[in-house]
Symmetry: C2
Subunit: 374 residues, 2 copies
């Protein structure tokens, strides 16, 4: 069937698992799951949009493999990552009489994956979990690494567990139904892996971006390379304790502040767009601090722009965020440890590093200038 | 201060921790916590009853040690182990701006410990957790081993995580305020450790029971020995995967069925009483199956009776449960794996074992005879 399936192994001792990446994997999902987890029953969790587009194929494939399953369809969108939907999913899984060895299968983007993974992590104190990510962001980021969770009224992703999947099935074909803006947003995370510490991958993306957007082997390769990058970091720091995971936050401290400033209004800014602007800001701030050449920062920015992503705060529609708003959000960011400001800065393309004790005022002046320039 | 503090170490690699057992530990709680977790802030979770009796002492001790803390007081009782109280605790912890390295401190019985531990396990995907158990059951059972959770409308303890505490402080003096019935109920779990695989401990309990009830060194020793017993099992099978934890369910399959039959009405039956009757049933069923001598079963029963615990179903006040009720509950018990009946049976005092594939009809006939005898 798919001649072109890449496998990325996430090495985590007895919690190791495979990520399969290829076109048409949805048709093989049942067989791949049954081969690895024989005899299981399952609960498929998805959202209404994805259910309309891709659920029948997954269900047919599960049925063909003899995997008895219940299905839970949730409303789409970030607000679904709530206590009440967590309870809905957990109770549906219990209602289906699934046992610990059975599986919760997440079919959807990061919202569905984070929520269903959390439910799988807490029902019977931890059931098996399979990710079938259907957005580019979910395929290259949220489905890999075991972070699951919901949002608190007080902040995003503040409640959850680390719960590794037993298998990730990334069907690159399902991304064809994704709206362009969501694909672009996910692409910001792909570019991020190059900018963190894979300069060759970044160069390859510069040459192959249009093919990645078009689909086919280049898309599979970009997603596999992204998963390899994330898997390496996760293997080194499974529970975000050693600090190695911090590099994955390139562009995210600024990005989260921007998302917060627009009150997570997706009409104005989606996560990947915030990350894109955030990465451009991290590069420009690094130039200003004398850490990175202007040429490298320009190259990073040019690539994001070419992909149709914003790189300046002024590109966000609506009233501009203010410096105090952004600084307050940066101070509240959960990655801030005991008051010191930690940023991911860079020495150039693919040369990012964790900068602790970044001076608050330097960031403040930088943002003021960025906003003044427009 | 307390000349007589026993320390039991729970060996779990980098998640190892100490259980301190002694009189007056509440006064030293702040110092013990500060010594092990320097610089932390905390959220104390407790219930109204325990708050009235013991919270001021803990708070004073935390203040004296310079541990800044918020306090959450919940209604007492099993219904507090709910999704909504979980959210209340999690949000209070976030509201207090605690970070991952800070601690949730549970001051109370198993209800508070299970709920607060679950909240500690999910806020920021896992914070530090300290148990200050105040019931005998919590000191010898629920505070050791890292099982946390809440009840689902569909069954008890169906939702939760494994989250090990960083420290357990069991002040044996606080048990003096416990109502007699709760102390006796906790004692059923103490006797259980002897009956599982510690015949010498059981013999010691037969000789020292009244001292354990009275307080002082015998109580400390009984609790420490119980913690050692549970710690050994937990170290061998942290996440209840290897089956070694199963022995801890001696008396519990029957006990849970009885609790379910009376709809968890504590006026009729509390957990420890159910376990006591359950252990007596497990011994008598073992006799009937030719596994255990009538003499040993009689010895087990006599000890439980002497401690003021029930050993017959007919001792439960109100309408007697029926065999079909009990069999349905046994079939639903979460320890039942894919339809086979698993019971903990025994070859004699301290010689329990896991019996898989127990014949359903044999259990049914046994219960019918037990109910007929009255
Ligand atoms: N766990 C992690 O490590 C991690 C990492 C990054 C982001 N996240 C989380 O991921 C979430 C964002 O994920 P997302 O961007 O995938 O959002 P999402 O799940 O909301 O998906 C975006 C939209 O696309 C729709 N959609 C999904 N697949 C589709 C398809 N194939 N065709 C058409 N429409 C489709 C969805 O219905 C939704 O409306 C956030 O909640 C974020 O916190 C988690
Ligand atoms: N996590 C585990 O491994 C584990 C093991 C066994 C039981 N449990 C759970 O433990 C719970 C039962 O625990 P419990 O029996 O401690 O119940 P509990 O926490 O409800 O306490 C019983 C009663 O005693 C009161 N109390 C507590 N300490 C007191 C004191 N020192 N003086 C006076 N009153 C006091 C409480 O307010 C409550 O009303 C159940 O929910 C059960 O599922 C968990
Ligand atoms: Zn991101
Ligand atoms: Zn018990």
């Amino acid at each position: 069937m798919s001649s072109n399936v890449e496998t990325v192994r996430v090495e985590l001792g007895d919690r190791s698992y495979d990520i399969l990446i290829g076109e048409g994997l949805l048709d093989r999902a049942g067989a791949e799951i049954a081969a690895r987890l024989p005899g299981i029953r399952a609960a498929v969790v998805t959202d209404e949009t994805v259910a309309g587009l891709h659920l029948p194929k997954l269900q047919a494939s599960l049925r063909a493999a003899g995997i008895d399953h219940a299905t839970v369809v949730l409303p789409p969108g970030e607000t679904t990552k709530s206590y009440s939907h967590l309870q809905t999913v957990a109770e549906a899984v219990i209602e289906a009489r699934l046992e610990r060895g059975d599986a919760v299968i997440a079919l959807g983007g990061g919202v569905v994956g984070d929520l269903a993974g959390f439910a799988a992590g807490i029902v019977r104190r931890g059931m098996r979990f399979v990710q079938v990510p259907t957005t580019l962001l979910a395929q290259v980021d949220s489905s890999v690494g075991g972070k699951t969770g919901i949002n608190s009224p007080q902040g995003k992703n503040l409640v959850g567990v680390f719960h590794q999947p037993a298998l990730v099935l990334a069907d690159t074909g399902v991304l064809d139904t994704l709206v362009d803006r969501e694909f672009r947003a996910g692409y910001a995370e792909v570019a991020k892996y190059g900018l963190i510490d894979r300069p060759d991958f970044f160069e390859w993306l510069e040459a192959n971006r249009t093919h990645v957007f078009a689909g086919g082997p280049a898309r599979i390769r970009a997603i596999a390379e992204s998963c390899r990058a994330k898997a390496a970091v996760v293997a080194a720091d499974e529970r975000e304790e050693a600090g190695a995971r911090a590099l994955l936050n390139l562009g995210h401290t600024f990005g989260h502040a921007l998302e917060k400033a627009v009150r997570y209004d997706p009409a104005r800014l989606v996560h990947g767009e915030g990350v894109s602007i955030g990465m451009a800001l991290a590069h420009r701030f690094s130039v200003r601090e004398g850490l990175c050449s202007g040429q490298d920062a320009g190259r990073a920015e040019a690539h994001l722009k070419a992909a149709g992503l914003p790189t300046r705060i002024s590109e966000i529609p609506g009233p501009q965020p203010t410096v105090p708003d952004l600084m307050a959000a940066i101070g509240q960011d959960k990655k801030v440890s005991r008051g010191r400001l930690t940023f991911i800065l860079t020495h150039g393309i693919g040369q990012s590093f964790v900068a602790r004790d970044v001076e608050r005022q330097a960031v403040e002046r930088f943002l003021a200038d960025e906003l003044a320039e427009g």
